[in-house]
Symmetry: C2
Subunit: 235 residues, 2 copies
């Protein structure tokens, strides 16, 4: 239920679990507008469906679909480049995985800030996770702090847009627990990097998600081709 | 002529005069790769032609065409929103003009940095002008300084990309003189916000360009529907 007195916030909603719980948090204090980016990733249509399902769940009319073709044109990521296959998860690996899309979050946030400026929104939310994540450089808390300064300098006088990352220091298990507490529609989310029908269970994104549920002692509501036990992998 | 020892730089090339002279400057010290953004602006095809003509002139093979549809979807600028007409120039106006596209430069630079990271480029050049310009907030020197810090924090370790704005403090007349000095193909550029066949001579962009030529005491090589004298407008 929106009230006229609520400030507007743009939420970058990929359709995954982290952004869904971020949307649930944003929805508590703001009138939310949802933005989604298609960037030529292999599971593009499935993620877009998850986005629309979540937006329907929250009865959000303000939706912006952003089509980026340059991230797939430049390639170099297993998510967008057909020549690079999505690798099986190695949760002990400290290297940046092949799924890394160069500077993706800056591209997404810049587009969201353009929209936020027009909507006179007070915040842009993004569900970046740093600690319990794949180690992408554009998920570092310092990155978002400086991004916010850059927004202040590069937008119209009178614009005052905060960049908010409420789950950045959460573990996946904590994100799941927060989602349960707020009745976030986790059953509508999509995380798998590889498949669009049934989650593979073995890519980085499935592994992080499944380990989160296993740590929380809960059952993931979506179905998987295979469900390895990730609890024996480093904490 | 490129040499293997030269570092690569990505140049954001709109097809206008400022970016063309910026490309000429970049070309002196770097192996250049040219990026162009279509963002649903009214003169999109003419600007793309200018981009390709300039790239042909410099024999640049590395070209990236970036299609942004979100900037026209969100509207609010006379360049992208059909409901807002391109206004006649008022060079005495200190307000941000209706042509302002919210946060455009952050969108453009983010895409260029993604590409630069893949190309292992050392710099991204953009032809932003601050002093003798329309007063867009995303043309402020401080904006680009903080943007560069944000790039350092958000890109892969080992990436070191400078954001270079060599004409930011130039007047239009100085840009034209620098272009002449470097044999930049100013005759191939397109600046008009309104027309695609013959420049209107009266929009903000034509006015700033014509005043620059008039101050430099030179003839603009492109043709105009009308060529007002802008020298009597404030310095």
């Amino acid at each position: 239920m929106f009230t006229a007195s609520k400030n507007t916030a743009v939420v970058a909603l990929s359709g995954g679990m982290d952004s869904c719980v971020t949307a649930a948090i944003a929805n508590q204090g703001f009138q939310v507008a949802f933005a989604h980016v298609n960037y030529g990733q292999k599971t593009e249509s499935r993620e877009l469906k998850a986005f629309n399902d979540i937006a329907d769940y929250y009865k959000v009319k303000e939706r912006l679909i952003i089509d980026f073709n340059h991230l797939s044109k430049i390639g170099s990521s297993s998510l967008t480049d057909k020549k690079i296959s999505v690798s099986k998860a190695d949760l002990n690996n400290k290297e940046i995985p092949t799924s890394y899309v160069p500077f993706r979050n800056a591209n997404i946030l810049s587009a969201c800030v353009s929209w936020a400026e027009v909507l006179k929104a007070k915040a842009v939310f993004i569900g970046a996770v740093f600690e319990d994540s794949s180690g992408y450089p554009d998920c570092r808390p310092e990155f978002f702090e400086v991004f916010e300064q850059m927004v202040d300098l590069g937008s119209k006088p009178g614009t005052n847009i905060q960049i908010l990352t409420p789950v950045i220091n959460f573990s996946k298990a904590e994100i799941i627990m927060k989602g349960m507490e707020l009745n976030a529609p986790i059953h509508l989310t999509w995380s798998c990097y590889q498949n669009e029908d049934e989650a593979c269970g073995v890519c980085d994104s499935c592994a992080l998600r499944l380990r989160g549920f296993q740590k929380a002692g809960l059952e993931d509501p979506i179905s998987y081709k295979t469900k390895p036990n990730y609890l024996d992998v480093f904490n």
